[in-house]
């Protein structure tokens, strides 16, 4: 597994891999994770939850860092001789994987993390040698793990054949993220026992949390008892706190998101770009009513009016009006909660994703025949 970051910095992609790793291990897949040593204090090697994690140095400015990362990965890959390399993101993880393939002929699986204007492919196009990198990815990567229709369409557009595009959506553990009694939970989390709207995720610009924080002043005019709960940290964290008015709670990076989600009522994801948001899957599994921008996998997951509300991206008025609808209508919220959880249990469970990945690895794996 090659991924940009890993513990302790956890975005959606990292958390997804962290939850999948033990399940894959149970299915007999030995996993090693290669990631960046983005902070000097981090150990170059560590075993986290029974999974070995190698952190490779990333010195100097960006292009150099990427190159150094890729090159230093090679001797280690030569030593470990993986049967399959799985790159998480089409940018430098995929480049590293392709370099390994070129040297050792290891089959490569690549997961496209995000689609849309700020997605993996769009970013790649703007990078140095973007065009040729896309070409080599198209040729070199054996299978693409696709998590949304949006991403599938983008890959099709650059000419990746259908048999190479494998739909394996992100999964969530429906036992860990499950609805339950809120009242006691709120008490123990020190949250008010009244309606709670939650955002969970990085506080980075493309998430557009600012839109939510800005309209909250309007929301509490009509629903003064409502609380906006913001989970996560990021580059915008401080600015958002400065901006926030009354009844907004910042909890930062919490160790376990599950109880916070369970304690909430409505989930809002105002992002301008997404792959398949784990936070959304977790919220749906927790029985929350979601309001989500129609980007990335959200359009596969949310049927507007049936299990959530889909709104156009970058439209604050839409966030406000949808919030007011759901705050006024408990019945609708409960209905969304029931149908949303059912969908996640059926199609987006972590165990289903692990099984599909396992099958994919085994299909690509060419056992080296013993020398005669």
């Amino acid at each position: 597994m090659i991924i940009q970051a890993y513990y302790p910095r956890l975005g959606g992609a990292e958390r997804q891999l962290a939850s999948l790793a033990p399940l894959l291990k149970n299915l007999g897949v030995e996993i090693q994770i290669f990631t960046r040593k983005y902070d000097r204090v981090l150990a170059p090697f560590e075993i986290i939850n029974n999974v070995p994690v190698y952190r490779l140095p990333v010195p100097g400015p960006k292009p150099l860092a990427a190159l150094s990362y890729s090159i230093s990965a090679m001797p280690m890959l030569a030593k470990l001789k993986p049967d399959v390399i799985h790159a998480h993101e089409l940018l430098s993880p995929a480049t590293t994987a392709l370099m390994a393939k070129w040297l050792f002929r290891t089959p490569v699986v690549a997961k496209v993390l995000r689609g849309g204007e700020l997605g993996d492919l769009a970013k790649l196009k703007n990078r140095a040698f973007g065009g040729s990198r896309i070409e080599s990815i198209k040729k070199g990567i054996d299978s693409f793990v696709v998590i949304s229709t949006e991403i599938d369409n983008e890959l099709e557009a650059i000419g990746v054949p259908k048999e190479k595009r494998i739909f394996i959506p992100n999964g969530v553990d429906p036992d860990r993220f499950a609805p339950g009694d809120k009242s006691d939970l709120r008490h123990s989390l020190n949250l008010p026992d009244d309606v709670i709207v939650v955002y969970s995720g990085r506080l980075d610009p493309e998430k557009r949390v600012i839109h939510l924080v800005e309209i909250w002043k309007e929301v509490i005019k009509k629903h003064p008892a409502a609380t906006l709960l913001i989970l996560g940290a990021g580059t915008e964290g401080e600015a958002l706190k400065q901006l926030a008015g009354a009844k907004v709670r910042f909890e930062g990076n919490v160790r376990d998101v599950a109880p916070y989600l369970r304690a909430a009522d409505i989930f809002v994801l105002p992002s301008s770009t997404e792959g398949l948001s784990n936070a959304l899957l977790e919220a749906m599994a927790s029985g929350l009513a979601p309001i989500v921008t129609s980007v990335g996998g959200a359009t596969d997951l949310i049927r507007d009016g049936e299990n959530g509300i889909l709104i156009p991206p970058d439209n604050q008025q839409a966030i406000l009006s949808s919030l007011l609808i759901l705050l006024d209508n408990i019945e609708l919220r409960m209905r969304f909660g029931v149908t949303g959880r059912k969908l996640v249990e059926k199609n987006y469970s972590l165990s289903a994703s692990a099984e599909k990945l396992n099958a994919l690895y085994r299909q690509l794996w060419k056992p080296s025949l013993p020398d005669k």
Binding site: K182, R186, I330, E331, V338
Partner: protein, 618 residues
């Protein structure tokens, strides 16, 4: 409120027969009568009208839309008709009357069959679309308004009451054995079954489409209860939402062009309705209650008086004497099908009283099903502890109870219910005659009524909690086919329209789709959320832990004032149906301690009175 009747056939019968059938329901609509026959003489729609909204002749029914495309006969009220009217006007529809009836017609022209889902109200209507050559018959979500249909090789009849059919000399008055079996098992006839062979009830929340060309009916459900919530909103929020929904429902249901009153028992539900009504009306509300002088338990007029005073209501009390015995045959007839609910007596008496002062009355019906108010729910939850006993042991005990304990001995049904699973137990709480006893009582019914108990399991979804299961079952069976029938027929006999603000479908969806079990009932308390609201809005002196309904001192009356009469009736009970010795045994047990057979005696008594009235044969 009205009585509707209609027919679609290759050839219509003599108009005099149609009029006689229609007028058998005059009590449902003493104000006006109408009969409409299509130009091709294939369809007849007719109605007896009790004028409530738009008292002018414009409200006359059957009604056609402004362009004469579709025709309707309608019984009920549409509580959101003003909004729908506006919405339809904005879409270019033109209205010629101020009635809610016309709104249904225009809604159909706009949205077709799906239009019924736009209606918030209590209704049964038949709409004829000549262009499609079809009749659309629909019944409201909770089943407040009745509808019977009778499909013959020549065509389809429908009516609000069976009395319309029995007024037709050609109607065969044969008893349907399966329905009799259901009646003896539950004390009412559930679902689409009807006591007369060949007739069916259209179940609540269903729609029937009849194609004239093929003489075929197609029935489908247009609305279902929402699934139970997986997530839970805060108690505060739920309480506020409940209050605002109830207030809105009461506000809508107070709308009428005639005087409106409230049936106030002094229990939580009718007291909450009174509270909301007082809040939204400019005038003092009118409340009505009945008393049973000399019967301590049933006579709790003090509570009703307290609530009425607190809200400044104009309050009327009526004392009921047991002399009302002569009412029984009249009620047995009025109820169309045999029904063993003794509160039909006070329901009728209070309706008659109210009718002197008002034409419309609001009641607390539905509150107990929606918010788990029956004390049996507490018991069913407590019973969970018995299911730790191995099932073989429970089966053995049930077997012994069935055969060794005499009928009516207290605890017998409980042991029998516990012999099965959670569902059997819930069902047994409301069984009149168990299959074993029923077989001895009516040997003429060859089939075992075990099947009837099994049928009822279709209302129980094992994926839900036992409280959700049992309240859903009661909402869809006992409430529709016993309690709502009782309210409809008893009030209609007095030409009074009753309304049930709790049964506004938004409150129904809220109750089943939003409220967690923890706010409905547990082993200690029932009806938790309404009691929270009661604490907030009702007078503090009101004892909100009591269970109060319109009930009569049945056992005392059966032992005293009604004794001779009921014995006389039962001694002449049809021997082709009942085993005389079994009936006598039941009667004798009235004086034995540790026995409770009053309901079972009432069940047979009412059946016999019904059979005599309708001269029905098995």
């Amino acid at each position: 409120m009205c009585g509707i009747l209609g027919l679609a056939a290759k050839q219509l019968p003599d108009e005099r027969i149609l009029i006689a059938m229609r007028d058998a329901m005059s009590h449902r609509g003493p104000d006006d009568a109408g009969l409409w026959i299509s130009s091709d003489k294939k369809v007849c729609l007719s109605q007896r009208r009790l004028a409530i909204i738009d008292l002018s002749p414009d409200g006359h029914q059957p009604m056609s839309d402004a362009t004469g495309k579709v025709h309707i006969t309608f019984n009920g009220e549409i509580y959101n008709y003003l909004e729908l009217r506006q919405e339809l006007q904005a879409k270019g529809h033109i209205f010629k009357t101020a009635s809610d009836t016309e709104v249904i017609l225009e809604a159909y022209l706009e949205w077709g069959e799906e239009s019924v889902t736009h209606l918030n109200g209590m209704f049964a209507f038949a709409l004829y679309d000549p262009q499609k050559q079809q009749l659309l018959i629909s019944r409201d979500r909770a089943g407040e308004k009745p509808l019977y249909y009778w499909l013959t090789p020549d065509g389809l009849w429908f009516a609000s009451e069976l009395k319309a059919f029995t007024a037709n000399p050609n109607f065969p008055r044969r008893i349907e054995p399966h329905a009799l079996d259901s009646y003896l098992t539950f004390g009412y006839i559930p679902g689409d079954e009807c006591i007369f062979r060949g007739v069916k009830k259209l179940p609540a929340a269903h729609m029937l489409i009849y194609k004239l060309d093929f003489n075929e009916i197609n029935i489908h459900r247009y609305w279902s209860l929402p699934e139970p919530p997986v997530s839970v909103a805060s108690t505060n929020e739920l309480l506020n939402q409940f209050e605002s929904l109830l207030e809105d429902s009461v506000r809508r249901q107070l709308i009428a062009d005639v005087p409106v009153g409230i049936l106030l028992s002094g229990g939580i539900d009718s007291s909450l309705v009174t509270a909301m009504a007082a809040r939204v009306s400019a005038e003092p509300v009118k409340t009505f209650t009945i008393s049973f002088p000399g019967h301590r338990v049933e006579d709790e007029v003090g509570y009703a008086r307290l609530v009425a005073q607190y809200f400044g209501a104009v309050h009327t009390e009526l004392a009921v004497e047991p002399a009302s015995l002569d009412l029984l045959p009249q009620l047995a007839r009025q109820f169309d099908e045999p029904m063993a609910d003794s509160s039909m007596v006070p329901s009728y008496l209070v309706s008659r009283l109210i009718r002197e002062h008002a034409t419309v009355a609001l009641g607390g019906d539905g509150g107990d099903e929606l918010f788990a108010g029956y004390p049996t729910y507490r018991e069913i939850l407590k019973d969970a502890r018995f299911f730790h006993i191995p099932s073989n042991a429970r089966k053995m005990i049930g077997w012994c109870a069935t055969r060794l304990m005499p009928v009516g001995m207290k605890g017998r049904h409980h042991l029998m219910g516990l012999a099965g699973d959670v569902a059997d137990n819930a069902i047994y709480y409301n069984v009149m005659f168990d299959p074993h006893t029923r077989a001895r009582l009516v040997p003429a019914l060859s089939e075992s009524s075990t099947r009837i108990l099994k049928d009822k399991r279709k209302y129980l979804n094992p994926a839900y909690t036992s409280l959700q299961q049992v309240t859903r079952m009661d909402f869809q069976t006992r409430m529709v086919d016993d309690y709502l029938v009782k309210v409809d027929r008893a009030s209609m006999l007095a030409s009074l329209e009753t309304r049930a603000p709790f049964l506004d479908y938004r409150i129904v969806e809220f109750a089943f789709g939003c409220i967690p079990d923890s706010l409905r009932a547990n082993t200690q308390e029932v009806k938790i959320l309404p009691r929270m609201l009661a604490k907030k809005v009702l007078p503090a002196q009101l004892d909100i832990n009591r269970k109060q309904g319109f009930s009569i001192p049945l056992k005392a009356w059966l032992k005293n004032e009604w004794f001779d009469y009921s014995q006389a009736v039962l001694s002449e009970a049809d021997e082709n149906i009942f085993n005389r010795r079994e009936v006598n045994n039941l009667f004798e047990s009235l004086n034995r301690r540790g026995f409770s057979n009053k309901w079972r005696i009432f069940t047979i008594l009412l059946f016999e009175l019904w059979r005599r009235e309708y001269q029905a044969v098995l």
